[in-house]
């Protein structure tokens, strides 16, 4: 049948739309206390126009949103370690996770602020 390739293409097209990707947090280690890390992360996100919906220094959590269609969000988890903090970040677009590499510029800025190069 001649229509078979068209049917296969349509099926692939629709599957491409619906495949969910599991959230993969981007993780970095920083030589700063969790509270300082959260403070700087809040500052960087607000500079970019994000609204902080929730942040807690004791729990080491931060949720920020950006009012652009279809709605973007960034969520941070900060855990204290003996010599600094471990940060893991997830970004979402319309409730779906974005590729972790989109967070690299933000995390580089965070790192530069907390660990200024000599």
């Amino acid at each position: 049948m001649r229509r078979i390739p068209v049917v296969i293409l349509l099926a692939v097209w629709l599957a491409g739309c619906a495949t969910p990707t599991p959230p993969e947090p981007r993780e970095i280690h920083l030589a700063a206390t969790p509270e300082t890390t959260l403070r700087e992360a809040m500052d960087l996100l607000m500079e970019r126009g994000y609204v902080i919906r929730y942040a807690d220094g004791d729990l080491g959590r931060l949720e920020a949103v950006l009012g652009r269609m279809p709605g973007y969000g960034v969520s941070l988890r900060v855990a204290g370690q003996q010599d600094g903090s471990r940060v893991s970040v997830v970004a979402t677009r319309g409730g779906r996770p974005l590729a972790p590499r989109v967070l690299d510029p933000l995390l580089t800025d965070l790192q530069t602020r907390l660990e200024p190069l000599p």
């Binding site: 097209w13 970019r48 609204v51 902080i52 989109v102």
Partner: protein, 180 residues
């Protein structure tokens, strides 16, 4: 004959998977007025009082970080002029003839309108966060518009000069004795 159609389909396929390559930022960027050096009287308590006076409902605070997050809902009118912002895709066809039953997906683009009223009631929700730090006070805001069906129609970043100036004046108008 149908080859052009086959070439079109991968283009549609690619369209589905478009995702940003960098973390999106507000456009335009927040106004310079949305960040000012903290004065001796600036405190989280004054910022909370000012937001409440402006009709905001405080949703979250963290005193150690100096953060207050609040929102304000207003009923408004939405002028959509009966035009759907996004074309609707879809349609499912099931048919049979001569003993064969076939199903397929039909793709169509439709633009609604005509029978819908030009204005609808809508809810406008502003979300604001204020951080009162040791050196500076920083504000960011966005506005979302939901139509009467509860669907998100508009969403934009709104950290603009007028709002930030007004909020700063409101914070400075709060008597300092209210702060602990």
């Amino acid at each position: 004959m149908r080859r052009w159609l086959l070439l079109l389909l991968p283009a549609l396929l690619a369209g589905c998977q478009v995702t940003p390559t960098t973390l999106p930022v507000a456009e335009p960027a927040p106004a310079a007025e949305c960040r000012w050096p903290a004065g001796p009287g600036d405190s989280l308590a004054r910022a909370v009082t000012a937001l409440e006076a402006e009709g905001f409902l405080v949703r979250h605070t963290d005193a150690a970080l100096g953060l207050v997050s609040a929102e304000r809902a207003r009923s408004t009118l939405y002028h959509d002029h009966g035009v759907e912002r996004l074309p609707r895709f879809g349609g499912f066809v099931l048919g049979g003839s001569g003993g064969h039953v076939a199903s397929g997906v039909m793709v169509g683009i439709g633009i609604g309108g005509g029978i819908w009223p030009a204005t609808d009631e809508a809810t406008r929700i502003e979300r604001v966060s204020v951080v009162v730090g040791a050196q500076q006070v920083q504000v960011s805001r966005d506005i979302r518009l939901f139509d009467w069906r509860g669907e998100l129609r508009e969403s934009r970043s709104a950290s603009d000069t007028a709002f930030c100036r007004e909020l700063r004046d409101a914070i400075e108008a709060v008597p300092p004795q209210e702060s602990p």
